[in-house]
């Protein structure tokens, strides 16, 4: 699938979020266009993960709104957000550690499965057929991410880089329209980072998935993304193409510090 950036799929408007007296986000607005790779960067504590958690429904902002595919939403729970076609990964991997890599990916298919509880309870007919269909889809993703060899391994035993990959796989298994990646390359070595970059690009290119990613590594962000938003102390201080952002005064100050 060739990729051509379309109209906005996600619009975040005037989000303010605070925990007690601590302000995490202040009037943050940004949009994400269909099929693009959108990066959110910023120093530690800038509010990047908080913003992702708002989009994902884990946090409920005090002010502002989020619209996805043109539908504005008030207060939603994470599992409803997942139903609308948003999948995500976590900064500190959140896998189902006791399950195999395969089962972890199968949980990603949860929302695609239709057979009812009774079918499930007796495991007949429809439920069984359905299980096999979804298995086929998951195997495709396993091939795509090159994790065939660890299919049956409980993920708790896998090295960190592979766990990150399985987590990406679980998000992909949901066939999301929008994929949120919270520091997908954090803690990886160069080789693992390169692999992950390739997967992110391939996902975007082959499946046409819109991707929002948070990342610390500036070089990664500049290579991958179409547009970059920069947060600092809960405010958006810059937004634009990687080149524009790179030369933006406020961004340089935020990253390198300002002389007082």
């Amino acid at each position: 699938m060739g990729r051509s950036v379309g109209g906005p799929i996600l619009e975040v408007e005037g989000i303010s979020l605070s925990f007690g007296g601590v302000v995490a986000l202040q009037a943050v607005s940004l949009d994400v266009r269909e099929h693009e790779i959108r990066a959110i960067i910023g120093p530690n504590g800038a509010g990047k993960s908080s913003l992702l958690n708002v989009i994902n429904g884990f946090y409920h902002p005090q002010k502002g709104s989020v619209s996805f595919k043109g539908r504005k939403r008030r207060r939603v729970d994470p599992h409803e957000v997942a139903q609308q076609g948003i999948a995500r990964t976590f900064q500190n991997i959140a896998l189902f550690r006791g399950m195999t890599a395969l089962d972890n990916l199968m949980t990603g298919r949860t929302l695609k499965m239709k057979s009812n509880f009774l079918h499930q309870a007796v495991y007949w007919g429809a439920a069984r057929r359905e299980e096999l269909e979804h298995r086929a889809k998951v195997e495709e993703i396993i091939d795509f991410l090159e994790i065939q060899h660890i299919r049956r391994t409980p993920v708790g035993q896998l090295p960190y880089g592979l766990q990150k990959r399985v987590e990406l796989g679980r998000a992909l298994a949901a066939e999301p329209d929008l994929l949120l990646l919270d520091e997908p390359m954090a803690g990886m070595n160069i080789e693992e980072k390169q692999d992950m970059c390739r997967f992110v690009l391939d996902v975007n290119d082959q499946f046409g998935t819109t991707i929002v990613l948070i990342e610390h590594d500036m070089s990664v962000v500049m290579d991958l993304s179409d547009r970059v938003a920069v947060l600092d102390y809960g405010r958006k201080i810059a937004d634009g193409t990687p080149d524009e952002v790179r030369h933006h005064r406020a961004v340089i100050d935020a990253y390198l510090g300002v002389a007082h």
Binding site: D77, F90, R97, M106, T107, S115, F117, Q120
Partner: protein, 319 residues
């Protein structure tokens, strides 16, 4: 001194050898009570696995469900309709627990949820007494067409006497465990249950609704409680005293591990068989009464040497 040692180490085994039919009989009795312990423990494991809540009310749910069944029948509801209604009551209970207890207390420390299930226990005791009275009731075994009478199987020159209801209980328990094992390991719901047990936020992010899962596990635990209540009620009768026996599930869980379904079963059987054998062969030596404390001593030994139980997940604290 030698007399005592003889009594402990030699005489019981001589007796076992001399009357193998009695040994088999004792093993059977132990197996039957073990199965019932296991069923109660199973209810605990289901809820603990999926929500991390230690449900103190599991024992009273056994009494409450059996009481509802018998009580409805006393008020003129036909037996099978009463059974269906009781299942419906357990479903309503599951919804109510999720809405009133779990949802408002989500993310609270475990001890708070544990205390909340204490509250649930006393609520169910009160509600049960209020509606159906506190007197022991007789299980409606005949109306439900549960088998009565017994088999006499010739064995080792003697007889093994098996109550038909016990045989039925063992078979039904096995089927229920098998069904749960398939549900847990092979289906979407089962995967969702395990997912919730592992990580709430990851489960939410793939679209699993915690509320739905909680209702499902509490309902499943309610059904297990009802089955246990019917079986146990048919052997003795339905009264709040059953709750004391439900406490035996605690050592069973310590033995088997809190998160393991096979652990609950095997733990239950070990405790059941152990206490019957202990009572029968070593009881006279200690002035009997072994049955009432044996399980707890076993649990204590396990806590000292293998706190995760036989099948539980290893507890590794990272420092």
């Amino acid at each position: 001194m030698t007399h005592l040692l003889y009594g402990i180490f030699i005489d019981p085994f001589v007796q076992m050898g001399a009357a193998p039919d009695l040994l088999v009989q004792t093993l059977w009795e132990g197996l039957v009570s073990g199965v019932l312990y296991a069923l109660i423990a199973l209810g605990f494991v289901l809820i603990f696995k999926a929500s991390g809540v230690f449900n103190f009310a599991q024992g009273i749910m056994v009494v409450f469900s059996a009481l509802t069944l018998v009580g409805l029948n006393e008020h003129g509801v036909p037996a099978y309709l009463a059974l269906a209604l009781t299942i419906a009551v357990m479903l309503v209970l599951a919804f109510a627990v999720e809405r009133v207890i779990l949802r408002p207390l989500v993310n609270q420390p475990d001890i708070i949820l544990f205390m909340a299930t204490f509250g649930l226990t006393y609520f169910l005791i009160g509600l049960g007494e209020l509606i159906f009275g506190g007197d022991p009731k007789v299980m409606i075994s005949d109306q439900l067409q549960l088998p009565s009478g017994s088999y006499r199987i010739p064995i080792f020159g003697g007889y093994l006497q098996m109550q038909k209801i016990d045989v039925a209980a063992t078979i039904i328990a096995s089927l229920m465990v098998a069904a749960l094992a398939v549900l847990f390991n092979r289906t979407r719901i089962g995967r969702a249950l395990r997912a919730v047990a592992d990580s709430h936020k990851a489960a939410l992010s793939v679209g699993i609704s915690l509320e739905q899962i909680w209702v499902i596990v509490w309902f499943a635990a309610g059904i297990v409680a009802l089955a246990t209540g019917i079986m146990w009620g048919a052997r003795s009768n339905v009264s709040f005293a059953l709750e004391i026996i439900a406490l035996k599930a605690l050592p069973v869980l310590i033995l088997g591990g809190f998160t393991s379904i096979p652990g609950a079963i095997i733990g239950g059987i070990i405790i059941g068989v152990g206490e019957k054998i202990g009572e029968f062969y070593w009881g006279p030596l200690l002035g009997s009464g072994i049955e009432s404390w044996f399980a707890y001593v076993i649990a204590l030994v396990f806590l000292l040497f293998r706190p995760q139980g036989l099948f539980g997940e290893r507890i590794i604290e990272r420092l």
